[in-house]
């Protein structure tokens, strides 16, 4: 389905977008993420895999500080985006989240029209000067979200009336409407059927030329299909991180091998 030969060439050109150093996350007394160091490359897809409760989603939510909304959650260590520490006191998480978009596990369109779903982000960030600007952004985002053709005739119908797969692509379109640089996806296909999953995966692959995509997934096949780099988390540790092809064919760590061969997880 995908041009695997292209993989290698893309990865070589990329530079580090996000770098995490000694990241620790605590939920109250629970040590959820232990000493994670990772460099995520720009304009590529990085997949986080691992068994349930291994901390991959928690780590993902650190990258746009969504964990701030959880009272008991405490993050230590450094996470830099383009060399800037996002946990610096001067950083406003709201501004950060405009730069680091997020797509959630369950499609969660606003109970508003399709148009308003997309237009909401640009509106609050003042990206559009007037109505026609906004129309343009909405159309562009929906096109990039690969859902324009399906919804162009009913932009003012409620977004909640779409099918699950369409809703998830709408959410992706909504996330990219604010022109983020990084796109975080937390198991975006876990609530979708195989056909919708294929559409979303195709979309993720297309998004790679504009965004740095980080995707958390339960499905190893999905990680193998869409990502260039894969990180394997286990019990809060980052066990192994490397090129996807290498992780799936020739893992260095025993635990990674056990997981991808189905012995643990």
């Amino acid at each position: 389905m995908y041009d695997t030969a292209k993989l290698g060439t893309d990865v070589i050109q990329t530079t580090t977008k996000i770098s995490a150093r000694n990241v620790q996350v605590y939920y109250g007394d629970t040590h959820a993420i232990k000493n994670v160091n990772v460099d995520i490359e720009a304009k590529s897809v990085t997949a986080f895999i691992g068994p349930s409760g291994c901390g991959k989603s928690t780590f993902l939510r650190c990258i746009n500080r969504m964990n701030d909304t959880i009272d008991v959650c405490r993050v230590e260590g450094d996470i830099n985006i383009d060399g800037e520490d996002i946990y610096d006191k001067r950083v406003d998480p709201v501004q950060l989240r405009a730069k680091v978009g997020m797509v959630f596990q369950k499609p969660n369109p606003f109970p508003k029209s399709i148009y308003d779903n997309i237009a909401y982000g640009p509106r609050i960030h003042g990206l559009a000067k007037n109505k026609s600007d906004l129309d343009e952004i909405v159309e562009k985002s929906l096109r990039r979200g690969a859902i324009w053709n399906e919804v162009k005739d009913r932009l003012h119908a409620p977004g909640t009336g779409l099918s699950g797969g369409q809703q998830q692509r709408l959410c992706i379109a909504r996330a990219i409407a604010t022109e983020p640089e990084v796109l975080l996806m937390d198991e975006p296909c876990s609530a979708l059927d195989p056909i919708a999953t294929a559409q979303v995966e195709e979309l993720i692959d297309e998004l790679r030329d504009q965004f740095s995509v980080v995707i958390v997934t339960h499905s190893m096949q999905q990680a193998a299909r869409v990502s260039q780099k894969t990180a394997f988390f286990h019990l809060g540790n980052l066990v192994e991180y490397g090129d996807t092809s290498q992780i799936f064919t020739n893992p260095t760590d025993e635990r990674t091998e056990s997981y991808i061969t189905g012995r643990i997880g």
């Binding site: 009272d71 709201v94 501004q95 405009a98 959630f104 969660n108 606003f110 909401y120 604010t178």
Partner: protein, 449 residues
């Protein structure tokens, strides 16, 4: 197992599905018993509701009709304006006593024109009218001095005994010891009915009018108390809704979860359970004795009811906010909305139907509350009628519907008792329409998402 396959069909099954075993029978019996209990419970509830409604309706509908005597009155210049100058100051000098002869002669004229036979003196005849008849006449003359010398048809309220006679409350037996009316007067009433001078019609004054003194139950209305209730509801709405919603949004969305917020939360629930009379005495101590706000004023009543309604609104608003799925907040935060934007753009609109319902139900509760109003003296007796009282507003003494009903119920004259029931009907109409509005609004807004 192997036996069964060897001779198929010949083996008697352990049990037949067509006969119920003992355990199933017991289970089914228990289930039918339980259903029966449920139906009995609902039946008792419905029966009580029906009894309540029929009692209220049968006792209260009488208050909406009133007995009137229609007569032609000669507004004699010799009695009302001896000088003939039509000077308003001089006309005003004639008191209601000066009008009594006009009424008496109107009765005499009525008897004569209809050829009725009666032994009653005109003074006794005039007693079947309300005590307000003379002042009604006087008010008319002062408002229309140019009508002096004319003959005008008037509709006078009959007094409460005659009204009770028309409604079956008063009979010839029941008035044996009643010095306000005699059987002879009732005979005269019968004659008046026959000639069509005395009729029972719908009485708008009960709905829009003011309360009347103990002596004139036939003139009492609930309209002014309704205005008092309306003013109080405006105060409650203007204070309780914004304060309640702001408090719940802060507690639900922004406040850190620690022991302070826990204590606040517990105490809000406690406040909801505090008896309303406690709020009444608090209002008396704080608003009237300490802050020196005027007694009996709808402003004070509204403040007390606000205190009482706040917990209800906060609890229902928090429930409505909690019911909004967290994924909506995540979605808003995920596209870079601030917490406040997430709440005001997304969470609040979704919670609005619930908040609205809670507010309306809180208001309905406040509308029917009596005890705190008694303590702050909102049982003011307001004699002035509708147009004047509307403008009086928040700071002048007023009553409220439930307090007015209480006031009527405790007065001695049985005619007031009927008015209390009538007041309850009006109060119930308000409560039912508010609750219906709450249900309709919720339905309407919920459909949108």
């Amino acid at each position: 197992m192997t036996d069964a396959t060897q001779n198929t069909g010949a083996v008697a099954p352990k049990s037949s599905l067509h006969t119920l075993d003992a355990r199933t029978k017991r289970r089914n019996a228990a289930e039918s018993r339980f259903k029966l209990y449920g139906m009995v419970a609902i039946g008792i509830g419905l029966l009580m509701l029906v009894t309540l409604l029929t009692t209220i309706l049968s006792k209260g509908t009488g208050a909406f009709t009133q007995t009137f005597v229609t007569m032609e009155v000669d507004l004699l210049e010799s009695k009302l304006d001896k000088s003939g100058e039509r000077d308003l100051e001089k006309i005003k000098k004639v008191t209601t006593f000066g009008y009594a002869p006009l009424i008496k002669s109107a009765f005499e004229k009525t008897v004569k024109t209809h050829g009725m036979e009666t032994d009653l003196k005109s003074k006794t005849m005039a007693k079947i009218l309300s005590k307000s008849a003379a002042s009604q006449l006087r008010n008319y003359v002062i408002a229309n001095p140019d009508q002096i010398g004319q003959t005008i048809e008037f509709r006078f309220l009959a007094n409460s005994r005659v009204d009770g006679y028309m409604k079956g409350r008063v009979t010839r037996d029941s008035i044996a010891n009643d010095k306000n009316i005699t059987p002879a007067q009732l005979d005269f009433v019968d004659q008046l009915i026959e000639v069509g001078a005395l009729t029972k019609t719908f009485n708008i004054d009960f709905i829009i009018g003011a309360d009347a003194s103990d002596q004139r139950p036939e003139a009492a209305g609930i309209g002014v108390a309704m205005m008092g209730s309306l003013f109080m509801m405006l105060v409650v709405l203007a204070l309780a809704l914004p304060i309640g919603v702001a408090a719940s949004i802060y507690l639900e969305e922004f406040a850190p979860k620690n022991w302070i917020t826990d204590i606040i939360e517990v105490n809000i629930s406690n406040l909801a359970a505090v008896p309303s009379i406690v709020f009444g005495i608090l209002g008396l101590a704080v608003f009237i004795n300490y802050m020196h706000l005027p007694q009996s004023a709808p402003l004070v009543g509204g403040l007390v009811l606000t205190l009482m309604t706040l917990p209800t609104i906060i609890i229902s608003t928090r429930a409505a906010l909690k019911a909004v799925p967290p994924s909506i907040r995540d979605a808003a935060l995920g596209v870079g909305a601030s917490k406040m934007q997430a709440v005001f753009h997304h969470v609040l609109p979704l919670a609005a139907p619930g908040i609205l319902t809670g507010t309306i139900i809180g208001l309905a509760q406040a509308l029917g509350e009596t005890a705190p109003l008694l303590l702050i003296g909102m049982i003011g007796f307001i004699a002035s009628n509708m147009p004047e009282t509307v403008g009086e507003g928040l700071l002048s003494p007023n009553s409220a519907m439930p307090a007015q009903i209480y006031e009527w119920a405790k007065r001695a004259d049985p005619a007031f008792y009927e008015r209390a029931w009538g007041g309850i009907i009006i109060l119930l109409i308000f409560l039912i329409s508010m609750n219906t509005l709450a249900v309709l609004l919720r339905r309407r807004f919920e459909r949108r998402w």
